[in-house]
């Protein structure tokens, strides 16, 4: 059965949906679209869909992914027009492609995520630059204590790259985060960086955007097969 990958964005008001709410939104949108979805067996059949790594409530995603199975293959344009108009505001379908047989699933394929953090106004630029330099410059551990059990982790183990940049309306911090470790959450990482920069601020999900999901393997490739440079949108 043919498998398709949808690339979409979740932004504006839709950023406030939880992962579960997003899943239900997708299921109903795809059911409304009339596409020949593949359903599981049993009393309560579910459409066969698989999702990328979840986004926290309030965090936007510019290029997110979803895989779906269809009973029969359809021209991509037809598929796309069937689903494009079925979503509440803030969820936009960007593109669709048919996966080659035996293509790895999203969970297997993606191993890092690029998050962009819009720093609150009035931040100390030098303190942040020093923090970033330290993160990039040495490899001394940066301790993060997990709140739920008090265990210590090296926050740097979750961070593959980082940079500070100036945007139109303030500073932005780009973080390339390794997925799959799970020990240090995005919130934990960001809060550790704030305390390292010794600057007032906390984790505000609405200031965070996931710019890309990538596979890091020498170079970078995204789930729809595009090769990318680091920090290339």
């Amino acid at each position: 059965m043919p498998e398709y990958r949808i690339e979409y964005s979740k932004k504006n008001s839709a950023r406030w949906l939880s992962h579960l709410e997003l899943i239900r939104t997708f299921i109903r949108a795809l059911r409304r679209s009339g596409l020949p979805l593949v359903f599981s067996q049993g009393f309560n059949p579910h459409p066969k869909l698989s999702y990328g790594p979840s986004l926290g409530v309030g965090v936007a995603g510019m290029r997110e992914y979803l895989d779906m199975d269809l009973v029969t293959g359809l021209p991509l344009a037809e598929c796309l027009s069937a689903i494009a108009q079925q979503f509440p505001p803030g969820i936009e379908i960007r593109c669709l492609l048919e996966l080659p047989p035996s293509a790895p699933g999203l969970g297997k394929m993606v191993n890092c995520a690029w998050y962009r953090l819009a720093l609150p106004a009035g931040q100390n630029v030098d303190a942040w630059q020093q923090t970033v330099d330290r993160l990039v410059g040495d490899d001394l551990p940066i301790y993060y204590q997990r709140p739920k059990d008090g265990k210590l982790f090296d926050a740097r183990s979750a961070l593959a790259a980082c940079r500070l940049a100036a945007a139109e309306d303030g500073l932005i911090l780009d973080l390339l985060v390794e997925l799959g470790g799970g020990a240090v959450s995005l919130r934990g990482l960001v809060e550790t960086l704030f305390s390292l920069a010794a600057t007032a601020g906390c984790f505000e999900p609405a200031r965070v955007t996931r710019m890309a999901l990538l596979r890091h393997n020498g170079g970078f490739v995204n789930p729809i097969g595009e090769r990318k440079q680091l920090w290339e949108a």
Partner: protein, 627 residues
Amino acid sequence: MEQFVLDDILSHLEKPARYLGSEWNTVHKDWDGASVRMAFAFPDLYEVGMSHLGLQILYGLVNTYPDYLMERVFAPAPDLEAELRRRGLPLFSLESHRPLRDFDILGFTLQYELTFTNILNMIDLAGISLLASERSAFDPLVIAGGPVAANPEPLAPFIDAFVIGEGEEALPEILAAIRQIKLDNTRWERGDILKKLAGIPGVYIPSCYSVEYNREGRVQGFTGLCPDTPSQVRRRLVPDLDTVYYPTAPVVPLVEAVHERGMLELFRGCTRGCRFCQAGMIYRPVRERHTGNLHRQAGEIIDNTGYEELSLVSLSSLDYSDLDGLLQPLRDRCARSRTGISLPSLRVDSFSVDVARQLPGGRRTSLTLAPEAGTQRLRDVINKGVTEADLLDAVAAATAAGWSAIKLYFMVGLPTEEQADLEGIGDLVRKVRQTGRSAARGKHKLRISVSASSFVPKAHTPFQWEGQLPRPLLAERHAFLRDLVRNSGADYHWHDIGTSFLEAVLARGDRRLAGVLVEAWRRGCRFDGWTEHFHFDRWQESFRAVDLDPEFYAARKLAYEEVLPWNLIDAGIDREFLIREHRRALAGVATPDCRRASCEGCGVCPALEVEPQLVKKAPSNLSGKLT
């Protein structure tokens, strides 16, 4: 304030998606293009309100008018209320995130007495005076309707106008009146606006009446304060459900609601005549939708929502007179879209179980049956036409069909209840277990749980004159029953007794209870129907603060001659019929359903000039038993 809500408030909330207002099928109308703007207020959480059919009906209906606009608002969860109060911000609507004060009308739906403090809280958070008498012509009109408006008196000082009965016709008439007032250039006083609304059938303006009480504190009478006030306000109803608007593109919730499914309304009204049941009285007569219409609506709902399940809703869906004609095409339609079909509750008989068994998508986990009472004697008293044989047949059929859990609903404290009736519940549970065991033939074990509520006397029912048992006695009976049921091998759950007590107080209350509501709200009472938010001590303090005895309202047996606090409301049911039914109850005499026997003279059809509407005459499946 839209941008502010989205940018600054949502990040502080546990479930921000409750307040986005961007659900599928929402209507975002041009604010300036609308001549009348109304906010539909549901005084409970989003998750509860979004499961409610009435909201979807009126929201869809009003928004079909080009120059009317309706938006939604739900009771803010405690985290949003805290944010709003901390920042001094008003409660806002979901679609345009505008302050409720900007609307012409704020309309509450009354589904449950224990949402009353939420209504006060929402009016206050909107920045509107709690008391209708303190509002000016510039304030929104605060109206309310729904089943609990059958006795609106405890809310009388807070609400400008109540809509009695079904709202599909009365509400647009109210909107038209407001539209005309707004087009009219003369300045209207609030009193004049209300007088104009009082001329609309089914609209009850509480400020047009004063209530007199006698020395014992009972209502003695009412005095009309305006020239043309009717002596009673008669309930409105939709005579023909096939020609009335129905929402086939309902708003699909973003946050998981209590019920996540499309709703197909088969009919309104139920004439089985259970004597405790208010819905069975105030929605009479039975009015069925035609099968063709239902099939069309089902298809549209499925296409427009993408719901995984379609629920066949009504007060007793398997009483629909052409069930075969309805179900076969519906099953085929739902099979194509992989849509399950569900029934909100099952009649207690094997026929119902067989029907449920043949519906697609039913996960065979738990089946709910409501015998309500433990002995035939008491079931005859309450006119619940169910026998022990019906129940055991249903259990056998369900177990054989693979259901592994049975939930049984009973009521404790019903009029004339004796110890034998409670023991009867224990006996029934044992027999259910035995029946289940032999029907399962060792293949699986049947789990049985008993859920017991406390009897609450309701207005416009034959039991409106009965009292609720005092709380200590109810507690004793629940404890006795709990041991009995657990010894019979079933779980026992019961509704909080304080909650049922308060429900009884408010359900038969008069206007003086408004003072108690204000006190309780000031003491922080909100979401009283939620066990985790219910503070009985605060309510007791509130009753003391205004020097009212709650027992007077909950426990007292009323005399037939008494003036009832809800006498201004005419539900269309003949008082003599209710007295007759009450007497028959005490004598243990059952009254048949007028659908399969002759008319029992409840008075609704002549009073409201309607007739029962059955799509198929001489229905075959109503006997409750099949050979």
